[in-house]
Symmetry: D3
Subunit: 157 residues, 6 copies
């Protein structure tokens, strides 16, 4: 039977004990998408500003946020990240954010990858909100993870 | 003509100068939705654990994240928040997160409200991921804002 | 009738709205005491190390912690501290910590003063624990506060 | 002869070198007590608010503070916490806070457990201070620790 | 007679009381220089990588660090920054970093500007250290400040 | 051929993958110098205040900053520091800051040592700026490092 492992038998929040878990190399990939307008995409592409810092700023924000995951998510364990990458794909009126996080440790890095995506997305949101206050972040989700006791997981379909 | 105010004339990131803006009371409301399964919703509702800490944990995470917004979003100004609230609506297989942020200051609180929603959502994601690794956060967006030079804004439609 | 203002009508945590409160100068003083041994006091007094950094380290820790109060205490408002001081009194087998915090703002600084005392005390604890693991912190309390709608308060007796 | 290991031979603060110490599983348990009034206890028990967030908020604050220990206590080493739990006992006019911290590392987790107790206690203090500004935190102390070179320690008596 | 205002009459550190000072608009400009090699400059200029993120990364690091000044410098007051900019000048074998910080508050922003310069410089250092471990940061200094009781100050010469 | 390892093939910033590197004991030593006036040195030496907290405050700031390195420098990995020390040499009109950092991990501690030097220097700057606003930090540099794949490095000359 399934259960919420972050709660004890009486429903109280706790940081789960991972001290008995094996140290393995763990990787997680997450994605999300900021839906905005074609006008914003033109500005982000920097049609007129060939070295605009928009994507670099969001990338740095996402990488730094991955390192803050255990400060933001109350029951996450602090883990020694061995790498984080954040990349963007520009579509007609949306920006896809993909983050990959890796560690060698006793617990997974799903939340680090998801946090990088969310904060990179929020940073894009911040930079474009004067032009498009109606932008929406969608499809923030785990794509795959590997390492750990439960083996690999890849999003179905 | 529209432009990205967070960039200077050469496309470089900067924290925009707000020192000339009026101090007014500003409010922003944001929403988002975590799409998961009916099984997770039963656990979150605590069908069997009447005092489960799931929503309280996510609420606290969202409130604390609102206070960290200017640490997470590189070009956000630090602002003295005068209130933050985070509430949840439980649907059949999704949880809606709504956050309201308020300040009396020289710049808006849209990012604070959005950050509260995103981090509360990530915290829910963390607590349910052992049961539903495929959960997806959608529709993270500004609902309305008031105060400030540009007047009130309410999401169309 | 009294009530817990940090909860809404349904018992949910929230950061109370202070936007309607007046900006006044507010001061709070808190105290606490680390009970340890005469041997530790001799070391802290630096009988043999006339410039030992023990108290300076605890003082800095307390001052820096006061600035982190709203990061540590979930429902505290971020406030612009205008001063913080931390002083110690050395007794035969105990160290009294007193902190004063001041702000000009819409909400009080009691928690800032108490946090400075608690973290200065924990820092002393850390530095002496190899000699006295049994040290105990007692009497961490508000001594007085002034400013704000409810007027001054001084601990009775 | 005993000495303060956090000072070098000239009395200057330093972060002690633990690189030569063995990695072992280490556990520490700490406790403290907030002395308040029976009226406050009735509110915290939520006689009228069966799902009040008071204890959940203080628990989350304590767990998150344990993860911030090395940021708060100047000479503490950053350590990879493998679990943290915070529980409360409600008495007639006091609340006992107990925290347990665990790591697999080169240095102990006493300060993490004590920090969780202190910050959970401060958070309770914050939530009840409008009703009882005179509340006092007492008996913040280490209860036991295990793991490490010096073997186990249990508070006498 | 001059004195160190951050110490009280007995030489103890304190956060100076600024509550009596006027709120004025204050600006500070600081500069520094990373001395490295012509080879590094070629890489930073991105002779082969026209959109390299080196300067954008250092700029974001500097801006974010300015917002962390009061967390890093023990006796600095938290202040509401109204703008921060960081710009670079590329010379034959050195990179000049200039930061400007602005606030409307009761205390100056010199440390914010200096912190932005230092951390932007450290970030450049980090990115180039595999190529030039011998790089040196020099001339980190205040260039000018305006606002505040003491009036304007411009570095002589 | 040399290259900037913090950039990927398209010039985008990334946190380099260190998961394949060996865990070894790594040490780095960095130095810097604050150039000020003989008058300031007299005050720092505490000619009249034999226990003045100036150096203790800067030392604690440097040690705490070393632990924050991966929060400040965007592409730095979080590492478990096993020791940090900061010492000062007082000259006629300058203060030399030296920091040593040590870890057992997969990546070096150069940035931790450099960050400790820079922030200890900024803290000195802050404490003396009312007396000497023209102080300048110079020669912030790596002195030596050991451990790691590339072997030991000692600054030439």
């Amino acid at each position: 039977m399934s259960e919420l492992t972050h709660l004890d038998g009486e429903g109280r929040a706790r940081m789960v004990d991972v001290s008995g878990k094996a140290e393995t190399t763990r990787v997680a990939i997450a994605r999300g998408r900021l839906d905005t307008t074609a006008e914003v995409l033109a500005l982000v592409r920097g049609d007129e500003l060939p070295k605009a810092d928009v994507l670099a700023t969001a990338r740095i924000a996402g990488i730094m946020a991955a390192k803050k995951t255990s400060e933001l998510i109350p029951l996450c364990h602090p883990i020694p990240l061995s790498s984080v990458t954040v990349v963007f794909e520009l579509h007609e009126s949306s920006i896809v954010v993909e983050a990959a996080a890796k560690t060698r440790g006793q617990t997974g890095v799903e939340m680090e990858a998801l946090t990088a995506v969310a904060v990179a997305g929020l940073t894009l949101h911040d930079m474009i909100k004067a032009v498009d206050p109606a932008a929406v972040m969608n499809d923030v989700r785990l794509v795959s993870k590997s390492g750990g006791k439960h083996g690999d997981w890849v999003r179905p379909g």
